[in-house]
């Protein structure tokens, strides 16, 4: 390979690496921390990156120097003789290798200690006063969200979207309904596995308002890749407005079309799995739809929540997310339109 080709290839690789770093965007990024926990993790990451990059560059420079160095008098002497350096050179080399070994061990210990310190700092951010407790249950392939409260009137069940007030510690109590999932919102904290019949906890806190994307981080079956959630961090007063709105039962259908839509929902298989508070639908196997229209996405945020997407999803969910547990139900077009309008009216 010619030198020109080689440098072109390297340039292409660097470019690809750069584009990859910008792929995730700032809504789902470990290096864009939004809270104290992810701040600790990001600091650790930058420290590792800086130290290890420095070592990498030093090693590469030394290797290049060795490769390009002129070998003194090697052509004239017999090969065996050059392999036996004089005693003073031998002693010098031994010192250098020993020093390098000790330095490597010291560096590894520094990495270990900083990592342990970060872990300790993260654990000190737990068990704080006045936390908000949110239960997250992973299911194939969506998230059930339940805001816990000692007052049963204040317990809220929703799906695939978590709203949290800025500045308040939030305890995520995670479990799973079927297989092992993993809760991961990179802007807020690391991964935490959700394990069937066990409860794992993770403390998160958002210090600035924003919308952060989370993703299942443990392979959980066919639609693992389409199992995401949004965490919306809002100022406390805005959060309170949202929470109080979500606690209310669903809006009663006002017009004839919406009433027809509600009838369609109640008379089809939808009612077996979905709940809409304020109606007789109380299925517990699928996302709660009481305030469905207020959410950003459908099918665990596979698609944006628009009427067109919803129509496609209800008509043939297996086309959008093959293997998911929503049944394909034959539905007549005159029934579908009112149903869509009814669901999109559930603000």
């Amino acid at each position: 390979m010619s030198g020109k080709h080689q440098s072109l290839n390297i340039a292409a690789l660097c470019f690809a690496a750069l584009t990859l770093t910008s792929c995730a965007g700032r809504q789902q990024s470990v290096v864009n921390p939004a809270g104290p926990q992810s701040g600790q993790i990001a600091t650790l990451w930058w420290f590792f990156l800086a130290l290890l990059s420095a070592i990498f560059i030093i090693v590469m420079v030394l290797t290049a120097l060795t490769l390009t160095r002129r070998h003194r008098g090697i052509e004239q002497e017999p090969l065996e003789a050059t392999h036996l350096p004089p005693p003073q050179t031998e002693a010098g080399l031994t010192r250098v290798v020993t020093a390098a070994t000790i330095l490597s061990i010291v560096i590894l210990f520094v990495l270990l200690v900083t990592s342990i310190i970060t872990g300790k700092n993260l654990s000190e951010l737990q068990d704080r006063k006045n936390p908000m407790v949110i239960e997250v249950t992973g299911q194939q392939w969506w998230w059930q969200i339940r805001y816990q409260n000692s007052d049963p009137q204040q317990v809220l069940v929703t799906a695939n979207e978590i709203h949290i007030p800025v500045g308040r510690p939030v305890m995520i109590r995670g479990t799973s309904h079927d297989v092992i999932h993993s809760f991961w919102v990179p802007n807020l904290h690391g991964k935490r596995d959700l394990i069937p019949s066990r409860v794992t906890t993770e403390w998160i806190q958002a210090d600035r308002p924003g919308v952060y994307r989370g993703q299942c981080a443990e392979f959980c079956g066919l639609q693992h890749a389409h199992m995401s959630l949004w965490v919306v961090a809002e100022p406390p007063d805005k959060f309170k407005t949202w929470f109080d709105g979500q606690l209310k039962p669903s809006a009663a259908p006002g017009t004839a079309v919406l009433q027809r839509g509600q009838q369609v929902f109640m008379n089809h298989a939808c009612i077996f799995c979905h709940a809409i508070r304020g109606t007789s639908a109380s299925g517990q196997n699928a996302p709660d739809l009481t305030h469905f229209a207020s959410r950003r996405g459908i099918a665990a945020n596979t698609l944006p929540n628009t009427m067109g997407n919803l129509g496609g999803w209800i008509t043939n969910p297996q086309n959008i997310k093959p293997g998911n547990h929503m049944a394909t139900i034959a539905m007549n077009p005159p029934d579908l339109q009112p149903l869509l309008q009814y669901l999109e009216s559930l603000k």
């Binding site: 298989a269 196997n285 093959p322 139900i329 034959a330």
Partner: protein, 175 residues
């Protein structure tokens, strides 16, 4: 040489037998999406005796591990367990048993689910898609060991049957 070819034959037979096990019909054909099924074409309810379906209808999801496990999921989701308690019975009759009041063939079970039965079994016809009813049928039959071992779960967290206690149908009553 004969031993080697014998081993190869056995291996290929095992491979063939596992072909259908993992087949996933995740996009069922429009016919199976119909929400009303009348597969058994049974026009009379004849309790108290062995019932042979008038037309032999085979369950499209026989011997499919995926569909049996989906059936088990639906059995809980649609609260069949509420009355039949994972096959043990309670408010409704047990489903691990020798004698079936309305017949134990796939078509009979299908009909029972679609049409409902007197004294409490609700009718599911017109409410859930036909393919889900077939998945439920496959699961109910697997409780009695009437699905191949290769397709059924070897261990369950709920009531399970094993080869020693699978109840044999009395000869001559059904197949």
């Amino acid at each position: 040489m004969r031993i080697i070819s014998g081993v190869i034959c056995c291996c290929s037979l095992m491979l063939i037998s596992s072909c259908q096990r993992e087949h996933r019909d995740i996009r069922p054909s429009p016919a199976r999406l119909a929400i009303y099924g009348d597969a058994a074409r049974e026009d009379l309810i004849r309790p108290g005796g062995p019932v042979r379906p008038e037309a032999i209808v085979t369950n499209p999801y026989n011997a499919s591990a995926y569909d049996i496990s989906e059936g088990s999921r639906l059995f809980d989701w649609y609260n069949c367990s509420g009355c039949h308690a994972h096959g043990g019975g309670g408010i409704g009759p047990p489903l691990i048993k020798k004698y079936w009041v309305y017949g134990g063939e796939p078509a009979n079970l299908f009909d029972t689910i679609v049409k409902g039965r007197p004294n409490g079994m609700p009718s599911w016809g017109g409410r859930i898609p036909e393919y889900q009813i077939w998945e439920l049928v496959a699961y109910v039959r697997s409780m009695n060991g009437e699905q191949p071992r290769s397709a059924t779960a070897s261990r369950q967290d709920i009531i399970q049957t094993n080869p020693q206690n699978v109840l044999q149908r009395p000869p001559g009553v059904t197949k």
